[in-house]
């Protein structure tokens, strides 16, 4: 039964409300239509953060492979190239798996559209994927020359592959994603470096861990933690709140703890592998935290209405 004053009613009587549960910010006065979301909650399933993670892992591994080759560790470089191939394969499969019409995946390459990061990313993957394939398999089939060239091409494209996914998420109306458009590419790029280094450490034979891989993991993890902190701070109390509440808050906290612990454990030789495993998991968790935060941000009209109200009021005051 609804009575005047019932929270579910819209409009003047009770449309004004503030949400109490778990709120970290003071209750804001705002009105809604029966508390229904203004935005649609993203329909992307877990495939999408998995696609971000795997794509980053591939990109980092392509860079790591060139660094290792340069330093003279050919075996480790080969492992990194194989990792890149496996990861970019997985990333592509994850992306296609999320499509509502999988048999139409190639429609991504019908047009070229810089305002669509998913389109730009598809073109990037169309160039990067084959380069990674040739880099990883060329040597096996007796084509070391093309393999080396393809490795360089893959490493050249890798920084773009590692960061465009940040633009992909940011280029939406979801407040917690859009408002972080300056930070998300750094967060994802750092995660790419961290995870590839971590995987390089994990795949190395005991006692022969390449120093460059460990440094990738440590530097990447530190950059990732700093980028995540900067993102949360720049979002402010209201829009950034989703990183502190609900599922997104839990996953974000887990990502932070895991990456921090991993970075510390990577330094002593004895705990290196454990640290690498944690950094790898942390980078994955960070992508899932961002995905989950977007869902929470779109689901609650508060995150849409209150900032837009303030923006409109500011504009009135300045004109």
């Amino acid at each position: 039964m609804t009575v005047p004053g019932d929270r579910k009613r819209a409009g003047r009587w009770s449309g004004r409300r503030g949400r109490g549960e778990q709120a970290m910010v003071p209750r804001a006065e705002f009105r809604t239509y029966y508390d229904r979301p203004v935005l649609k909650v993203p329909v992307w399933k877990h495939w999408i953060p998995a696609y971000f993670f795997a794509g980053g892992l591939a990109a980092g591994s392509s860079l790591l492979a060139e660094v290792l080759a340069w330093s003279g560790d050919a075996r480790a470089a080969r492992r990194a190239r194989a990792s890149a191939l496996a990861a970019i394969g997985a990333s592509t499969v994850f992306l296609v798996a999320d499509l509502g019409r999988q048999e139409r995946f190639h429609h991504m390459l019908r047009v070229f559209r810089p305002s669509s990061p998913m389109n730009v990313g598809s073109w990037l993957l169309a160039a990067y994927g084959p380069a990674v394939g040739v880099a990883a398999l060329g040597e096996e089939v007796g084509l070391p020359g093309p393999a080396r060239a393809a490795g360089v091409v893959a490493a050249g494209l890798a920084p773009a592959v590692a960061t465009y996914t940040g633009v992909l998420v940011a280029d939406t109306a979801v407040p917690v994603w859009h408002d972080a458009h300056r930070e998300l590419p750094f967060l994802f790029g750092a995660g790419a470096v961290a995870s590839s280094g971590a995987l390089g450490v994990l795949l190395a034979p005991r006692g022969r861990v390449p120093a460059a891989a460990a440094r990738f993991a440590v530097l990447g993890a530190v950059a990732e933690v700093l980028a995540a902190r900067r993102m949360r701070e720049s979002l402010g109390d209201l829009v950034g709140e989703v990183y502190h509440v609900g599922r997104a808050g839990q996953v974000e906290a887990a990502a932070r703890a895991t990456t921090n612990a991993g970075a510390v454990l990577l330094v002593p030789r004895a705990t290196r592998r454990a640290g690498a495993a944690l950094v790898l998991a942390g980078a994955a968790l960070q992508r899932f935290a961002v995905a989950e935060a977007g869902k929470q941000s779109a689901a609650d009209p508060k995150y849409v209405v209150v900032p837009q109200r303030e923006r409109a009021a500011d504009r009135l005051n300045t004109t």
Binding site: T2, K8, A10, G11, R12, W13, F30, R31, Y33, Y34, R36, P37, V38, L39, K40, V41, P42, V43, A59, L63, L64, L99, G100, R101, R104, H107, M108, V111, R113, S115, S116, P117, N119, P159, A162, G166, V167, A170, D171, T172, A173, V174, W177, H178, E183, P185, F186, F188, G189, A190, V193, G197, A211, A212, R215, L219, V304, Q308, R309, R311
Partner: protein, 299 residues
């Protein structure tokens, strides 16, 4: 161009000789909540049923716009002064009378202290349409009428348009996988018919025509309402310099937009796409920097 005023979005999208930009003007003061628009839309466009549910939200059991709901009538119950309620009732009855030739024998008395806001929501066919901008397949396109339409034979169901829309309009249809929304009856426009919802609307709350003409008419209507003491009347989406560059479907509202589930100050996300790619370039440089720093000395 993803921001700023555009006089003719169809021409900007590459049409050589587009017609006049057409649109909807939804005058919510005339809406009687009959939902004929919802039904006509479903019938004409063969949109599947989206469930028979009771939502406990006044007479709104439709919920919200979505893949299978291209018109949604919102019902809002509010306290209001008698003058406002009276003015709305008079207009609605007058339009009905114009259509059926007579007023009901005993027009109902407006009740003091109460008003019922009803509004038929629809895709806004934005001048700067985020759904279209982010669509990776080119499935979403700008028509020669200045409207935004999904090509169902192209859409691969990537879902990107869904979080991109600042109005929460477009959605993925379950079991189908593709994204769907209002086409402003693209097929009917081609043969000179008005969209099904506008044709079905018995009170002319949904008005269809050249956008410039609708805007002039809407401004005059606001003036009339203000003169009658309906001080709350305001237009939503009629300005070209808003964050979405003006709406192809705009509204006359009697309360703040958020009361109708409309965002108070929507901005097309792609307005910032340059800044985003710049940030990505910076981040790419950081990735290279980290790799170089990690490389250390050659053995």
């Amino acid at each position: 161009m993803t921001a700023g005023p555009i006089a003719d979005p169809a021409r900007a999208a590459g049409w050589d000789a587009p017609g006049e930009r057409i649109g909807f003007f939804t005058d919510t003061t005339l809406c009687i909540g009959c939902k004929a628009c919802e039904v006509a839309c479903k019938e004409w466009n063969d949109v599947p049923d989206d469930g028979l549910v009771f939502l406990d939200s006044s007479y709104d059991n439709t919920g919200t716009l979505g893949a299978s709901t291209w018109r949604h009538v919102a019902f809002i119950e509010q306290a209001a002064p008698r003058a406002v309620a009276e003015s709305m009732l008079t207009d609605a009855l007058a339009t009905v009378a114009g259509d059926i030739g007579a007023l009901p024998s005993a027009p109902p008395e407006p009740r003091d202290g109460f008003r019922w806001l009803m509004s038929s929501d629809v895709c806004k066919h934005c001048t700067h349409a985020a759904c279209l901008d982010v669509c990776p397949t080119g499935s979403l396109f700008r028509t020669e009428f200045g409207t935004v339409v999904v090509q169902e034979d192209i859409c691969n169901g990537c879902g990107y348009c869904i979080p991109a829309c600042p109005f929460g309009v477009i959605d993925q249809r379950k079991g189908d996988g593709r994204a769907w929304k209002c086409t402003m009856c693209y097929d009917r426009l081609h043969v000179g018919l008005e969209p099904a919802c506008a044709q079905a609307c018995p009170t002319n709350s949904i008005q269809f025509g050249p956008l410039a003409q609708l805007r002039d008419h809407a401004r005059a209507r606001v003036d009339t309402l203000h003169a009658r003491g309906v001080a709350d009347a305001r237009l939503y989406g009629a300005d070209d310099d808003s964050g979405v560059g003006g709406l192809g479907a705009f509204f006359l509202l009697l309360d703040e937009p958020e009361v109708y589930r409309l965002p108070p100050d929507p901005v097309v996300t792609t307005r910032d796409v340059r800044a985003m790619w710049k940030a990505a370039a910076g981040a790419a440089a950081m990735v290279v920097g980290l790799a170089v720093a990690a490389a250390g000395r050659r053995r």
